[in-house]
Structure formats: C-alpha cells, structure tokens
Symmetry: C2
C-alpha cells in the first residue's frame, strides 16, 4: 500500500468507527475509559519498555535534555494518564444534550442537539501522555481519533493506543476497533495526506509550538482549531486598586511563566504610572522578572530597566521577561491589544465597572478577565474537567476546549405528517 491508500484506509476506518461511537451509551463509554485506565497501569512494564526504546533512539538522535524529559514516561506519568481517563469517565456525557428547543406556529418541534464531531485528527509533539489524554476526551465525546505524535515517541504512542483499544474491546462488544488509531509511520508526508481527507476527517487539532501549528494550518484542507501563541496582557487602569494591581500582575507573570496564559505585556495607565509603576516594577523584579519598558515608562524608572524593542510587543517570552508600556487610559490599552494581542487572554484591573465593561466588550480575545489573573484561562479552572487545548480561533470552539468543545450539533425536527405549503 502506498501512503495515500494507507491513510485513506485509516480515515475510512475511523469514519466507520465514529458511527459506532455515536450509538454507544454513556455507561459503556465510561466503563471502557475505566478499563483503559486500569490497563495502562497493568501494562506499565510494556509501556516502559517501548518508551525506553524511544528514549534510547532519542539519545542517539541527540535530543536535548528538555525534549528527553518530555518524552519520558515514568510511573507517575503513567498514573497521571490513568487518573486522567478516570476523571473523564466521571464527567457528564457531552453528546445528546438539547441546547435549544422551539415549537413553530405550524407545530414543527425543533431540537438542537449536541453530537460528536466525527473523526478528529490530533497532531502533537513529543509528549506521549497526550496520546491517552486526547484519545480519552475524544472517545468520551463520541469521536474517533487519529493521533500523530512526534516521530521520537512513536513506539510509546503505539503501545498506549494499543493498550487502550484492547481494554475497550475487552469491556464492550460494540467497541469499534478503529476508535483510536496512531499513524504508524514517522514519514512526514503522512500529515498532508491526512489533512487532505475532507470526506472522512472532520477536524484537526494541532498541539505544540507555533512552527508545527502554522505548518498544519498551512497545508490542511480540513477545518483546524488552533492557537499559535498567547501574548497575554494585563492592563492596570487609572481606577485600579494598587495592591490588587500588583498581585494580579505578579501572579499573571510569575505563577508559571512558561505557559500560554502567562502575562507577556503589562500595560499601565499613564495617569497613575508615576505612583504605581515603581511598585509594580519592584514586585516583579523581586521575582526575577526582566522588565523591558517603553520610553515613557523608562522615564519614570530610570536606567535600571531595559528598553523594549518593537519586537517585544509581539513576543511570547514564555520566560521571566515582561514588556511594559504606558498607555493613555483604557482606549490606549484596547488599541495596543488590537494591534499586538494574539486573541488568547487579556485582563484589566480596575474598580470602575464601566471601564471594565468597555474593555471586556471591545477586546477581541477568547477570554477577557476583570480583576483576575490571566492564568485562569484553563479547562480545569473553567470547570471543564479536562482540556484538549485552548483555541484562539473564532469558528467552532474559542478559549479552553473541554468535552463540550469536542461536539457539534444537529437539528431534530418532529411533525405529525407536516408538509410545506
């Protein structure tokens, strides 16, 4: 079989599996998820073995220590995959929920009901635990999954999927054997082939660095839900409580600087900058944050801080670095964000409800916080229970994507012999 045939066969099998998943009752899905969790624990030795092969090959390839660490599946990571699946089993079934119901004057009853999306392709980088997490969320939402991880994790990914499938089949006779598939080849050409299968693939969710995501978006013929980067800012308004402003800025920047919902840019209302900027700077510097300020901020702070370059406003530092800019009030903040934001998360600190409302309505981002840290944009924090990613797109899901965001909908119409005149 050549690559096109191989991938076409996979996606057709996934489409057939998705039909069976649509029919599967919640109790069966949850029993399968629990069995999969147990199987991952029971087969930890097999998983370690395959992972050791990947680690060994990775060392030969000269992977960095950071990448090798991400590739590693130790006992605690295997346990985490298992408990992730058990948590997903506890969550409500996102499918079959009636979102709206209306009865038309002619008696036609219309119900808008959530459905699985169908076949979801997940493309990700080296972390093999994504295999279990993503497959579990897709399975619970009734979707068949085709997983394409990094080539350095292929053995680990295949064994995880195999263990999960076997547990599913052993639990439920209707479990479709192609519900979870791992692309079996490390060949990069498999990706454009997969993403050309518009008849059978309904959605692609890429997870990883901006390069991977751009490459996927560039070549895909199927819908993609993605986020390139999180250039999140906190705007300290003139009517902010100073203590709260410092707390939120510090938390947004330093609580976990390497993630997409960490603050990258601090915007300060020029009206209160002479008072508050030194306090903000002092607190951030105390947490080892390197500050890069525009001219007007620097005029207040002196040469103890770096000068921001134009590039800094568009940079996701993912590190203890923060760009700082003075803006002429909320409008200036909104304008800055419109130009430089990535549509992920923005926050305002103010005690003025009117200003907060304006900021929240006009800023175009998946999540806009008022008097809260940017770090709350997260499926767990939103009560979604688990998250497959965060979308900065506007079609389909936006913001954190949990089970509900892995569904589509259909309209069910009911008449009593109703015809159109």
């Amino acid at each position: 079989m050549d690559m096109t045939e191989q991938i076409t066969t996979m996606t057709r099998q996934a489409k057939d599996a998705s039909r069976a998943l649509t029919r599967m009752p919640r109790a069966d899905k949850d029993a399968c998820l629990r069995a999969m969790a147990k199987a991952l624990e029971d087969h930890a030795a097999t998983i370690h073995e395959s992972n050791a092969q990947d680690m060994e090959a990775g060392r030969h390839m000269g992977l960095s220590r950071a990448l090798l660490d991400r590739l590693l599946l130790d006992d605690s990571r295997i346990s985490a995959m298992a408990s992730g699946l058990r948590e997903v089993a506890e969550l409500d079934d996102p499918v079959g929920r009636i979102l709206e119901e209306r009865t038309r004057p002619n008696g036609l009853v219309l119900r808008k009901m959530t459905t699985p999306i169908g076949v979801v392709v997940i493309i990700y980088e080296s972390r093999p635990n994504v295999t279990a997490d993503a497959a579990g969320l897709c399975f619970k939402s009734g979707n068949a999954t085709i997983l394409r991880g990094g080539k350095e994790a292929l053995n680990s990914n295949q064994v995880i999927a195999h263990v999960m499938l076997k547990a599913g089949r052993g639990t439920c006779t209707d479990f479709p054997e192609h519900a979870i598939q791992v692309v079996p080849t490390p060949d990069r050409a498999a990706i454009p082939e997969l993403l050309a299968q518009t008849d059978n693939v309904d959605l692609c969710i890429p997870r990883g660095g901006e390069g991977l995501i751009r490459a996927v978006a560039e070549c895909s013929r199927v819908p993609v839900i993605k986020h390139y980067k999180g250039i999140c800012s906190v705007y300290i308004d003139g009517a902010a409580d100073p203590d709260m402003a410092v707390e939120i800025a510090v938390n947004s920047k330093t609580q976990r600087p390497g993630v997409c919902n960490a603050m990258e840019t601090l915007l300060v209302d020029e009206a209160i900058a002479p008072d508050i900027l030194p306090r903000l700077a002092e607190s951030l510097i105390a947490k080892d944050v390197e500050l890069r300020m525009d001219k007007s901020a620097q005029a207040i702070m002196g040469n103890s801080v770096h000068t921001a370059t134009e590039e800094d406003w568009d940079t996701e530092f993912l590190d203890l670095v923060c760009a700082v800019k003075l803006v002429p009030g909320v409008e200036g903040a909104i304008n800055h964000i419109h130009r430089h934001g990535s549509g992920h998360t923005e926050a305002i600190v103010t005690n003025d409800a009117k200003t907060a409302t304006r900021f929240q309505l006009e800023v175009d981002a998946s999540t806009v916080f008022w008097n809260a840290s940017t770090r709350f944009t997260d499926g767990g924090q939103f009560g979604m229970g688990a998250e497959i990613g965060i979308s900065t797109d506007k079609i389909g899901a936006r913001g954190p994507m949990g089970l509900a965001e892995l569904t589509s909908y259909k309209w069910l119409g009911e008449g009593r012999g109703l015809i159109r005149s």
Copy 2:
C-alpha cells in the same frame, strides 16, 4: 497598487470597521438598516441604471436566459431587498447574549457571551440581491463584510453597497465606512488573495454551485462554512402511516424541486414495499416526477419506471426526478444515507417512536426530520427570520444559518482580585 496590496488594504480596513461594529448599539444598527432599506428604494433609478449596464454586458457575453433573469433587478426585487433589511432590523441582536454563566468555587464568575465573528467574506454568483441580504445580516450581527459577487453583476453590486454605506453613514456618525465592501475588480485572482488573509479575515461563506464552493474550499486559508449539495432522502418505514408517507414524499419532492432541501432519494422499507410503493409511485408520477428505481423496486413496479444507475444515488437532480430504493428496514436506510447522503437533510416517516429516535440519532446530517417534509430545513421555517445559507459542515454553524450563526463567543471572567495559587 498591485492586487495583493489592494486586497490587504481592504481586509485591514474591514478589520478596523469590525471593531467599530462591535461597539455599535442595537438601536443604531437597526436605524442604519432601516435607512439602508429606504435608500435602496429611493435610489431605485440609479440601481436600475447600473443593473442595465450589467444586463447589457451579460447579453453581449452570451449569458443564458436563466442567468440573465437571475441578474435582473426589477422593482419587485429592489423592494424585496428593502423589506429584507427591514425584517433584519426587527430581529433580536444576536450579539451580547449570555449563553452560559457559572461561578467557580474560588468565586470566579464566567460568562460565555456571543460576539461578532469579525470580518466575513461572502463569495456568490450572479444574483445581485444577495449583496443587500448578506451585508444586512452580517451588519446586524456586527461583522464587517467583503462581498465578491459574479463579475457580470459588478456594477449592480457596487451601487447596492454604495447606497447602503451612504445611508449608514448618514444615519449614525459611528458607522464605519468600510463596514460593507465590494471587491472592485472582476479579476479572479482576487479570490485566493482574499482567502489568504488569515490575519484579517475570520470566515468565508461561499454561496452558489458546487464548482464555486469546491474552488473556494480548495484555495482558502481562512475557515469556510459551506454546503456542496443537498442529497436529501425520505425513508418510509414499515410502521409508517401510508397516507402520511405519500403526502411527505410528494411534498419533499415536488413542492419546489429545484432547491437544496428537496428530496432526491426515496427509501422504502422492503417489508411494506409491495403495498405502498405503487401508491407512492402513482402520486409522484401524477406530479410529473420521473422515477428511477433499483432492481427490487422495479420488480414490484414493472417496466413503467426507469432503472436507477449507481450514479443516481449520489446525484442532486434539482428537478422532477427521484431515485427510489428498497431497504431492509431502518438500518438499511441509515446505511444508505451514510454512504450517499450529503449531510444536509434526511427524513423518516414512521409511527414507531423507537425507530424514529434511532434514525434521528444515527443519521449524520444537519437536520433529521420525523414525520415532516425535508422542505422545512430553512432559516425562515426555523424561525431565524432570515438565512445566509445552509451549512453541511460540523465546525461552526450546522444547518440553516441565521443571525445567531453569524456570531462567535468569548468568555468574560470576573474576580475580585483573584489570583491563581
């Protein structure tokens, strides 16, 4: 300016306009829509003049009579555009609606609120009234529109957009002048340029024949919501009321055979075929429908009907032609639809609620009717007031697309100095 610059400028201007539209209160939007309606009526003479140029050029190009008829803007079509805009003004504002609200244990209040999508590109064929209809719906939902109609309608489209813009600006000082733009060149190269503008264009909705839609989907780098075709079927179950079955089949096929929600395939449960098929056939033939039957149906009907080819199951006839097939019960119907359906509309006629539920849950289509004609898949029939198209996609809108389907959402989070620990 070369094409790329010209299109980039347009989309940037549209993006800026979309910011202003996000802020515009409902009352202003509705006042603008009413003023636009009046202006179209007041400037009927100017519209006729431009349209006459298009008609004249169309005749020279050798357009068919059908195409020339679609191109024509007579007084009744101008009135229809105006009343369409007035109807949209009456509809609720789809933006700013709270879809969900939750308070997390830490006190974080989360509201999921509808927002405009941003910049919407509409690509359509010769009917110039789409210009007013689509621009009106997009404007009410707070989106900036870039319209690209058929080259043969360019003058008509430009004058319609110009009249609407002028009315908007005359009504409301905040009306952004690039809220509604018509691509000013007939050059086809403008389309891939437009659809490559991922920074500024949020969605493309193509409307027209399958060729146009496939070409758009093929080249677009921005999300596309579309429907290729409507191969809708009606399944007459063994437990159907015979009179109702005949009424629904005839209505689905003949009430307006040239549209996407008309029935193309009639599936009949083989258990009742000997009884009901002759009645169904007689009623359809009485309405001048050409029947193309599979072997087993033909065995009942004899040689008075045509034989269906394999191709017929995948054909959108858009005419008084109907493919007919006997199937072994509801499962057979579902299997046929899985293989041949276009994801638009399917219907079952049965008095057995369990069978109906199975059909509605398992059939993968935007709309699945029970004891109702396929002809009800329509924005007006759904109570949406107006419709910009019908989506057979699963990401973003599915089924009829009214104002609500032209929105996205964002999360508004509110704390009282909330930080993440």
